[in-house]
């Protein structure tokens, strides 16, 4: 059953990579990249169960924490042009 779940996750990953390569704006690519991160965590957990080594879950936790930081860092870079600003205030709309 874990093999079937892993297969479904791989199919979803391929579709997400298509969107990440195609997406017209950088935000489309980021949506896909964020989803790819989530699917990678779950694929890691499922493959850990598939091979009888659930220790992979520790790596999954690390990936889950890094995924958010990565997305926010890339968003901040494309908003302000560099990462050294405080970024606490949004411009007037």
């Amino acid at each position: 059953m874990f093999a079937a779940a892993a297969l479904a996750l791989l199919v979803a990953l391929i579709l997400l990579v298509v969107r990440a390569l195609k997406g017209p704006t950088v935000f489309d690519r980021l949506v896909a990249a964020n989803s790819i991160g989530t699917e990678a965590i779950l694929l890691l957990a499922v493959v850990g169960f598939l091979t009888g080594r659930p220790e992979f879950l520790d790596i999954g936790i690390t990936y889950a924490l890094l995924n958010l930081i990565g997305t926010l860092a890339v968003l901040k870079y494309f908003r302000f042009g560099d990462l050294s600003q405080s970024g606490g205030e949004e411009p007037e709309n």
Partner: protein
């Protein structure tokens, strides 16, 4: 009893896998960033929840279950944060929502919302149509926030 747990685990894992594929198909099929975010949230909540529930049933009461619950909690809290930041960044950068009737969208958004109708067929290739909102400095190296 073990049989029942296996069957429940099967059902949960299959449902989770199907939710993941549906989310990925949605991300490919939806017309603009905001609707794609909507499709992506299915994977973060429903897909992850079902898959991890299925794995918890297989793991039993152990340290592995605790780790799975930690992963689930992290995904539940960081998914909406990333989605909100993405939508806000796209809106501030001037990505226009895909609407068929700009007047209707103006009414719905209170009038000060910068929207423009984009024909459905041209959205995917229409990179040039995405322009910064008026009055907002374009994001780039060296540009300072005006706040």
């Amino acid at each position: 009893m073990e049989m029942l747990i296996d069957i429940a685990s099967w059902v949960l894992l299959m449902a989770g896998g199907i939710a993941m594929v549906i989310s990925a198909v949605g991300i490919n099929r939806m017309p603009d960033v905001y609707t794609r975010l909507h499709a992506a949230s299915v994977a973060d909540t429903l897909g992850a929840g079902l898959l991890i529930s299925g794995m918890i049933l297989q793991a039993g009461f152990s340290l592995v279950t605790a780790k799975l619950l930690i992963v689930l909690a992290i995904l539940f809290f960081t998914g909406p944060v990333a989605g909100h930041a993405l939508a806000r960044a796209a809106l501030v950068a001037g990505v226009r929502p895909h609407v068929t009737d700009p007047d209707e969208a103006d009414d719905a958004c209170g009038g000060d919302f910068f929207v423009e109708a984009v024909p459905h067929e041209t959205v995917r290739d229409d990179v040039d149509a995405i322009t910064p909102r008026p009055g907002l400095a374009p994001a780039g190296r060296g540009s300072k926030p005006t706040g």
